[in-house]
Structures are given as structure tokens and as C-alpha cells.
Symmetry: C2
Subunit: 229 residues, 2 copies
């Protein structure tokens, strides 16, 4: 390619914003960098994209290496490409976010990281590179999509109580919701299966368990149904 | 950078999906390629990103070169990076969409193109590279955002009739809307200024002109107002 000398000097990376929920707060999985630049800073997990690797495969590879998870919710959010975003060269990065059930994650140390841990979103104030901006952008996308698409369920166990679901929405949206209105609205959506089962081993009066009915949702959606919380 | 030899071999491009509306149909601006690959195919306008250019500046540069327009609606949509998407090397492309008032556009031939023209969306069946996929992705984004954000007004002249606004929504959403319900809903949003002016030089009874009140919208939005058509 005649323009090779001028243009083929950039690299791409992917960065993964992996959201989890632990029954009270929204968390993301961060690595502590073992190498310069930004040595010992917390950062989003990510990696350079291999020359022979489809872009959308790279975040799946990173997620699997870090957490062992496959086939979980993962979507591209935005691409960041300021010329000065990486001190060592021109690296454009594509950000993806995932929603995972924290209980399913067994974080393993990645070769780039000497430490890997869940962090509460509200407690993250500094990250390596432009990762604060990337994280905020993905959080805005989550906040906006959780109201109109049934993606919040990805963060919960398969069976959950209405209180757990409300806790999740409050954590994502960052504000309290009226209990009565929330229950009325969420049940009226018609996509929760009543499991006719109750919590076990809790100190308080056990609450009913529900499950998201994806089949019913997909069917209704094809007929123009809209999910809205 | 030690990984330079392996990774710094890719290039990025941007592709611009430039939407316009001509009072009856939704159109996009395409160029006919003068060079191989895909010589003589219609394609999305775009360019490689310069090594010293911030990513988000590249689509602004392309738009200005092609149309003379600056400071118009332009947003990043998605990034496409299959290994085989460009026959001449690894090129990852970032897609942006713009909404412009067709009357303001004075398309000039770009150095890459021997022809530049508006095409009706419904009449586009083949494009160079993976540009059909990119166009469809941007169209889906437009369809979804036009209902919840007041971006449709970007495609209209500053003053418009309610019929013109309805024609626009029908063209974007690809379906007819009930006239009475549409007017009721759009007026109830409280963001249209009645200009107390009428169309001029029309054969039928002149209709009233309206203008989108961005100031009122921004004020209401800051207090939790949501726009929804």
C-alpha cells in the first residue's frame, strides 16, 4: 500500500469495563499495572489487538483470560484516539463493557498484572491513561441502556428477589427508587417469571424468587413490546 | 516500544455517514471511488487518520472537505475491525454519523472521488468494502436516537411546518405515523416555538411555521425532562 510508510504505524488496543454487582454496590474489575508507563496504577484490563485477530474477538479473549467467562454480555461502546493518550506511541483503544454475575468470576492474575480486584465505582478516583474517561463513558451507556433493555439481569444470579433487583437499579442509576412504584412497574412489564420459590437461609421473612423470562421478552419484542423501567 | 514490530502495522480510517432529508426521503452522501480497490463503486466518504491527528478531528476534516460544513451534528457510532475488511492491509475504521440540512450542503469533489452525490437510502443495495454494514449500523443508531433526543431538527431548515416534521420522522423510522397523534405528542413536548408565521409561495393553504427551542429544551432537560416521540 503506497501510504504504508505514513499510516501503518499505529496500534490498537481494547479496554474492558467489566461491571459486577455484589448486592449493594456496582463494581468494576481492575488490574494493577506491573509495567511502565503508569506502573502500580490501577487500570482497566485490556490488551493490544493481534494483527490477525478480529477486533471484536480481542475483548472476549481478555475477558476469558481474566475471569474464565465466555458468552457473557459484552458490547462495544466507543473508541478513544487522542494523539497523546499513550506515552509510548499512537495507540487507539476501543472500549467494551461487560455485565457479569460477580459470583461466577474467579479472577486469575493476568501476565500484565500483579494484582486484580473488584473496586466499588464510587471509590475510584484515579486510573492509568485516559481510563477514567473510558470508565465514565461506559457507565453512562449502562445507565441509559438499563432502562430500556433487559440487561440488568446479567448482573444478578438467575433467581433473585424484587429487593435485589431494586438494589441493582438503584446502584446503577445512582439514586433511590420508590419501592411500591418500582415493583408495580417491573411486574407490569410481564417478563418476570414467578418461581413459586422463596429465599432460603435468611434471617428476615424469606422473599419470593423471580427469574427473567428471556423467551417471553424476545417474543413480545418481535411484536413491538418495549421494555422500560 | 518493544512490541512495535508486531503491533504497529495497522492503520485507522474514519467513515462518515452523512444523512440529509429533502422533504420526502432520507438520503446519504456517497462518493464514487476513483481508485482500486472497489474502483467505480459507491462508498462512504472517509479517510485515513493522520498520525498526528486526534481521532475525533478526522471525521470533521472529511465533512468539511466534502460539504464545506462545520459545527454540525456529528457523533461516533461504532468501530469495525474484521481482519479481512480491507484487501490491502489491516485497516480498522471508526464510523461517525452526521445530520445536515441538505440545503446547506454544496458538495465539492474530493481528491478520492470522481463523483459525489446524495442517494436515497432505499435505493442503496451495494457499497464498497463493508460500508453497507456501517451504513445500516448508523441508521439503526439514528432510528433509536431520533425518538429520545431532539436530533431530527438538525435535518430540517430552521423554520418548518408540522407536516415537514412528520415527514421527517416517517422517513427516518420507515413507517407512517398517525397525523393527529403525532401533532398532539410533538406539541405536548413543549419545545416547539410557534413562529406566528406562515409558509409562503405554496399552492395549498399555507401552514404555520415552528422552530425548535433548544434553550427551553436544555433548561427542561436539566430538571429531568425527557424528550420522547
Amino acid at each position: 500500500m503506497s501510504v504504508g510508510n505514513t499510516f501503518f504505524k499505529t496500534a490498537f488496543s481494547v479496554d474492558n469495563v467489566i461491571f459486577g454487582f455484589d448486592n449493594s454496590s456496582l463494581k468494576i474489575l481492575l488490574i494493577k499495572r506491573a509495567e511502565r508507563p503508569f506502573k502500580d496504577y490501577w487500570a482497566l484490563p485490556g490488551d493490544l489487538v493481534f494483527p490477525d485477530e478480529d477486533l471484536d474477538n480481542a475483548p472476549k479473549r481478555v475477558l476469558k483470560e481474566l475471569t474464565g467467562l465466555e458468552n457473557v454480555f459484552l458490547e462495544q461502546v466507543a473508541t478513544f484516539g487522542k494523539t497523546d493518550r499513550h506515552p509510548k506511541g499512537r495507540v487507539i483503544t476501543v472500549a467494551y463493557y461487560s455485565l457479569v454475575n460477580i459470583a461466577n468470576v474467579n479472577p486469575k492474575a493476568h501476565s500484565f498484572a500483579n494484582e486484580l480486584a473488584w473496586h466499588e465505582l464510587s471509590e475510584i478516583h484515579t486510573l492509568a491513561f485516559d481510563h477514567m474517561l473510558i470508565m465514565q463513558t461506559c457507565l453512562q451507556t449502562l445507565k441509559s441502556k438499563v432502562r430500556t433493555q433487559p440487561i440488568g439481569f446479567e448482573l444478578l444470579p438467575q433467581k433473585f428477589t424484587l429487593s435485589e433487583l431494586q438494589d441493582l437499579y438503584e446502584a446503577v442509576l445512582g439514586k433511590p427508587l420508590d419501592k411500591r412504584n418500582f415493583r408495580k412497574k417491573i411486574l407490569s412489564l410481564g417478563v418476570l417469571l414467578d418461581q413459586e420459590e422463596y429465599q432460603q437461609g435468611v434471617a428476615h421473612r424469606p422473599a419470593k424468587l423471580f427469574q427473567f423470562d428471556r423467551h417471553r421478552y424476545e417474543e413480545a419484542k418481535s411484536m413491538g413490546y418495549t421494555f422500560e423501567v
